[in-house]
């Protein structure tokens, strides 16, 4: 049985792991490699590193930490943030990243997804989507440049349409990050994730809102996602990954122990 994945996300800014509430006021929570190693030992199934500064400031970012992570950890990991070109993707994969995740640059130029897929295969192309509930239109919509509050903007994309579009263009996985829920630990947005699940033929990773063990159980059993991503509950030791996995297994969910 394919196991449901628990994926700690490490938001990286200037070479450190940070966390902000609803993408704001980032505080440093630790160094990249030791945190990655700790989560691996605790039973994380995969790691995601989001370099949240990258899309905003158009500058060359030192990504050599990726090879240090690859040297030390023996589970898969994905690197996100500011990947706009095939050359940048190639370098990260050469450093040892298993997957690369693209968010804002794919919104600016959707053809990037197909070009990445043609070059590296869809299995390593993850599309991150920052989705929010737009009260005016009573619908789910996509935001861009969420790494910096001053740069964040709304897009014309409805979330469902963008989910279809990125699959058509050849992504291998989708991370749906629900922004209204982020960092406030009120639970994953089961309703929205279930809607997207129905449209999603590739693996779907839920992100945003995890606060309790029950939230993880609900997102796996009700929204039927393949993986659940969380950050603050792990960084702040509110939830221990081993205890979480033991609990989920007791609930009858396929889990790697």
């Amino acid at each position: 049985m394919l196991a449901k994945r628990i994926v700690p996300c490490l938001d990286v800014k200037d070479g450190k792991v940070v966390k902000g509430v609803q993408f704001r006021n980032h505080e440093i929570v630790g160094d990249i490699v030791p945190l990655a190693a700790r989560y691996t030992v605790e039973g994380a199934d995969e790691l995601v590193f989001y370099d949240i500064t990258a899309s905003v400031h158009d500058r060359v970012i030192d990504k050599s930490w990726v090879s240090r992570v690859a040297e030390q950890i023996d589970i898969p990991f994905c690197v996100a943030g500011g990947i706009k070109t095939l050359a940048q993707a190639r370098q990260l994969l050469a450093y040892g990243a298993d997957k690369i995740s693209v968010n804002s640059p794919a919104l600016s130029d959707p053809s990037l997804i197909s070009r990445l897929q043609d070059e590296f295969g869809r299995q390593c192309i993850v599309i991150g989507i920052d989705s929010y509930f737009d009260k005016d239109s009573q619908s789910y919509k996509v935001k861009q440049f969420t790494g910096d509050e001053t740069a964040t903007k709304d897009t014309q994309w409805y979330t469902q349409d963008w989910v279809e579009e990125v699959q058509k263009r050849g992504c291998g996985e989708i991370v749906l990050n629900v922004m209204n829920q982020d960092g406030v630990r009120q639970g994953y947005d089961i309703k929205q994730l279930s809607i997207v699940r129905a449209l999603c033929d590739v693996p779907l990773i839920a992100s945003g809102g995890a606060g309790t063990l029950l939230h993880f159980k609900d997102v796996f059993l009700e929204a039927k996602v393949d993986a659940a991503l969380a950050a603050s509950v792990f960084h702040k030791a509110i939830i221990n990954i081993q205890a979480l996995k033991a609990y989920l297994q007791q609930q009858g969910i396929a889990i790697r122990r």
């Binding site: 394919l2 994945r5 023996d74 994969l93 298993d98 869809r122 299995q123 291998g172 693996p203 393949d226």
Partner: protein
């Protein structure tokens, strides 16, 4: 208990003079470092001492104690790369243990239906008589990404690996079950998680990303050399192909 020490009592004296080498073939595709790091981590175990190198040098590959054929991307692109590097006949002639990983395993087959934009199937190395085609996930999301359970056979590559162990998969194509299956996995249909013939063996999953289970499998491979007797094992004569619910 390693097989080579039984078959070759002089192994110890040889290893004092000849460096044990694990060569990872530089196929020209990205992400060879993950495989290299995984083998290098094995050297932390006092019982293992292998020099790991990534190269496309024909002489070095030929002289290696064992060879790894990695691969990412599409079958066609990877086969082209081997062709351009004049590696195809060399690989076919290797007599030491050879391990294909993921696409590397698929390249060991005779033919892959992963066309990658071409108008016909991709001819592969023909080392293991099986053909690669699309995984039938019976409606589950594709690619097959994540940790899934394997049912290993008695092949020495899976020495000490329990039925139901989790390893990490990322793929959309697969080798079907056949006489050459040495481990199986289920995702929709049941397919070959690993195949082997003689000194050639391949795994569909990524042992380099499969935590302790993966490290054990790689360490079993590192315990093989040109003295390993693969005739002692044939998948067909398996005494106990484990059947368990997965």
């Amino acid at each position: 208990m390693s097989q080579q020490s039984l078959n070759n009592p002089s192994n110890d004296s040889i290893s004092n003079t000849v460096q044990d080498t694990t060569v990872i073939i530089d196929t020209g595709c990205a992400n060879l470092n993950s495989v290299r790091y995984a083998f290098e981590r094995l050297n932390n175990d006092a019982a293992i001492n292998t020099h790991v190198l990534v190269t496309d040098d024909l002489t070095l590959i030929k002289a290696a104690t064992r060879v790894v054929l990695p691969g990412v991307g599409s079958a066609g692109a990877a086969m082209n790369s081997l062709q351009n590097k004049q590696l195809i006949n060399l690989i076919k002639g290797l007599t030491q243990p050879v391990l294909g990983v993921c696409l590397g395993m698929q390249m060991m087959s005779t033919l892959s239906s992963e066309r990658g934009g071409k108008d016909k199937d991709c001819e592969c190395l023909g080392l293991i008589p099986t053909q690669i085609s699309e995984l039938d996930s019976r409606g589950a999301p594709l690619p097959h990404i994540g940790w899934n359970q394997i049912m290993p056979s008695a092949h020495p590559l899976f020495d000490g690996i329990k039925a139901g162990s989790y390893v990490y998969f990322v793929h959309s194509y697969r080798a079907p079950l056949s006489d050459y299956t040495i481990a199986r996995c289920q995702y929709g249909e049941t397919f070959s998680a690993a195949i082997a013939k003689d000194n050639f063996m391949g795994v569909q999953f990524h042992p380099e990303k499969s935590s302790d289970v993966g490290a054990n499998i790689l360490s079993n491979f590192v315990n093989m050399n040109s003295n390993t007797d693969f005739n002692a094992f044939t998948p067909l004569t398996l005494s106990n192909p484990v059947e368990t619910n997965v």
